[in-house]
């Protein structure tokens, strides 16, 4: 079953078309990558999935819960890490805002509970953003630009967490990435978005060897 399904999605900002007839599915427990250059419409797709922009045409269907790790991490900078996490459970109601489970899943956050989120390092903030999204108890996690501005070691650690969450809890992940190699390594399936249209999709392994993908996103052919 698909936890998230986008069919013929078109989004316009004023006269500009950001997305043009996009089809994309994320199945239960799936690991899906969405790659593409800056300005291709990736973040618009994230916003459409989260219901933050209205489609001009097409359908967005989300079965179960979808939570978003937004681009740029978007901390509540003046609030503590624990408050950031708590508010991630806002939709759950008062009974669903206990953060204990998140500290078990992401032990690195445990020592940072009382720290102001705005003062953390980029990697720590990304961890908080993931924890905050997990608070919503999602079936599918949409991660927008996980690696942006982070050191490679930090990214490796975060990827390992996503892999574990996927394997152990069946959490589906839609990873939106400029770093195509990273995304194709982690995910099973992938879509390539260019100028608002899906130009390629298929198993991640196939795309990793596709000439067009290697030339545009992986810095030349794979040896």
């Amino acid at each position: 079953m698909n936890v998230a399904e986008v069919a013929g999605l078109t989004v316009r900002y004023g006269g500009a078309t950001a997305l043009d007839g996009v089809d994309l599915t994320v199945a239960e427990g799936d690991l899906v990558a969405l790659i593409g250059p800056n300005g291709a419409g990736k973040t618009t797709l994230v916003k459409a999935l989260s219901g933050l922009v209205r489609p001009a045409a097409g359908r967005v269907t989300v079965r179960g819960r979808l939570a978003q790790v937004p681009e740029g991490r978007e901390m509540f900078g003046d609030l503590s890490v624990d408050d950031n996490l708590r508010l991630g459970g806002w939709r759950n109601g008062r009974g669903g805002r206990d953060t204990t489970e998140i500290y078990r899943l992401l032990p690195a956050l445990d020592g940072l509970r009382r720290r102001r989120a705005g003062l953390l390092s980029g990697g720590e903030q990304q961890m908080v953003a993931i924890g905050r999204a997990l608070m919503a108890r999602p079936d599918v996690l949409v991660v927008d630009e996980l690696s942006l501005g982070l050191a490679p070691l930090v990214v490796t650690d975060l990827i390992a967490h996503l892999r574990t969450l996927n394997a152990e809890r069946g959490l589906a992940v839609l990873l939106i990435e400029q770093n195509a190699r990273l995304a194709l390594d982690l995910c099973r399936r992938a879509y390539v978005l260019e100028a608002g249209r899906i130009v390629l999709h298929g198993p991640a392994d196939d795309l990793a060897h596709n000439q067009r993908v290697t030339a545009a996103y992986l810095g030349g052919p794979v040896r």
Partner: protein, 286 residues
């Protein structure tokens, strides 16, 4: 010495009124980025209504509470008009609140006329450490202090309080986690209305109210709030008290004609200094 203590306590009482108006401005500005020019009108409406209710024979306490709740409702209405339409910029909303503040004059004059009104507060004179002052000033402090403590607890301890702070800190992230930012803005306006209304009902027994009393309250409240960049409630509280004390001391030892000028000079000085550093109203840290 006892003169000084008297001026100090009186000043704190007056300053508590400014602090309440200021914290209302801060509550609204933090969440919505709107400087609410109708803030003084909440105080006037609450005070006028309370005076009518008391004149009609309703008991103290009930009359004041009705005044404050009505001011909260007025705050909600101002909020609905000012930010209710999605996509309204804070600048546009500011002009709307200015318009509503002036519109309030018309309503107030139609209902209550243009003469000053007042009502009795705590009667008599209190003697504190040899200083004599109107006992009502002590009531102002006795109400304001717990109100500020309750507000601090509300923002620090409750999820709704945290959600309000979250909207102030990062409205986009608030949307992402499912907080209705517009509703939180309306809640902030209602809270601002209640705080303004409380200032009005508390200070009217020692300071008569007319339809245009809002200007004095707004100027003083804004001067106190701008000290903390319109985003820090505790600084606004301190600023309000300081302003009240400074004015009372100047009136006591100098001339009472200069009271409002103190606020204006302070406000301009703070804004010029802050603007030269980083803009008078800094964006909160992310």
């Amino acid at each position: 010495m006892s003169d000084f203590l008297g001026y100090l306590l009186t000043g704190l009482g007056i300053g508590a009124g400014y602090a309440l108006v200021a914290s209302g401005l801060v509550a609204i500005h933090r969440v919505t980025r709107v400087v609410n020019f109708a803030q003084g009108a909440f105080a006037v409406v609450a005070a006028m209504l309370t005076s009518s209710l008391l004149a009609a024979g309703l008991p103290h306490g009930f009359a004041e509470l009705t005044g404050v709740l009505t001011a909260a409702l007025a705050g909600l209405l101002v909020g609905l008009v000012a930010i209710g339409r999605p996509g309204t910029t804070p600048g546009t909303s500011l002009i709307i609140t200015l318009g509503l503040g002036i519109f309030a004059y018309a309503i107030e004059i139609v209902i209550w006329g243009d003469q000053p009104r007042s009502f009795a507060g705590v009667p008599g004179v209190a003697v504190v450490g040899g200083a004599r002052l109107q006992a009502h000033y002590l009531l102002i402090l006795a109400v304001t202090v717990p109100v500020f403590l309750a507000m601090a607890a509300f923002f620090a301890r409750t999820d709704v309080g945290k959600a309000l702070s979250a909207c102030a800190s990062n409205p986009y992230a608030a949307l992402v986690v499912g907080i209705d930012v517009r509703r939180m803005g309306l809640l902030a306006f209602a809270l601002g209305g209640a705080l303004g209304g409380l200032a009005g009902v508390l200070t009217t027994p020692v300071q008569q109210v007319t339809f245009d009393s809002d200007v004095t309250l707004l100027v003083n409240g804004f001067a106190a709030a701008i000290l903390g960049g319109l985003t820090r409630p505790v600084v606004a509280l301190g600023g309000g008290l300081l302003l009240g004390v400074a004015q009372t001391l100047i009136a006591g030892y100098g001339g009472s004609a200069y009271q409002l000028e103190v606020a204006l000079v302070l406000m301009l000085a703070v804004m010029i200094v802050q603007a030269s550093r980083r803009g008078a109203v800094p964006e909160p840290a992310r």
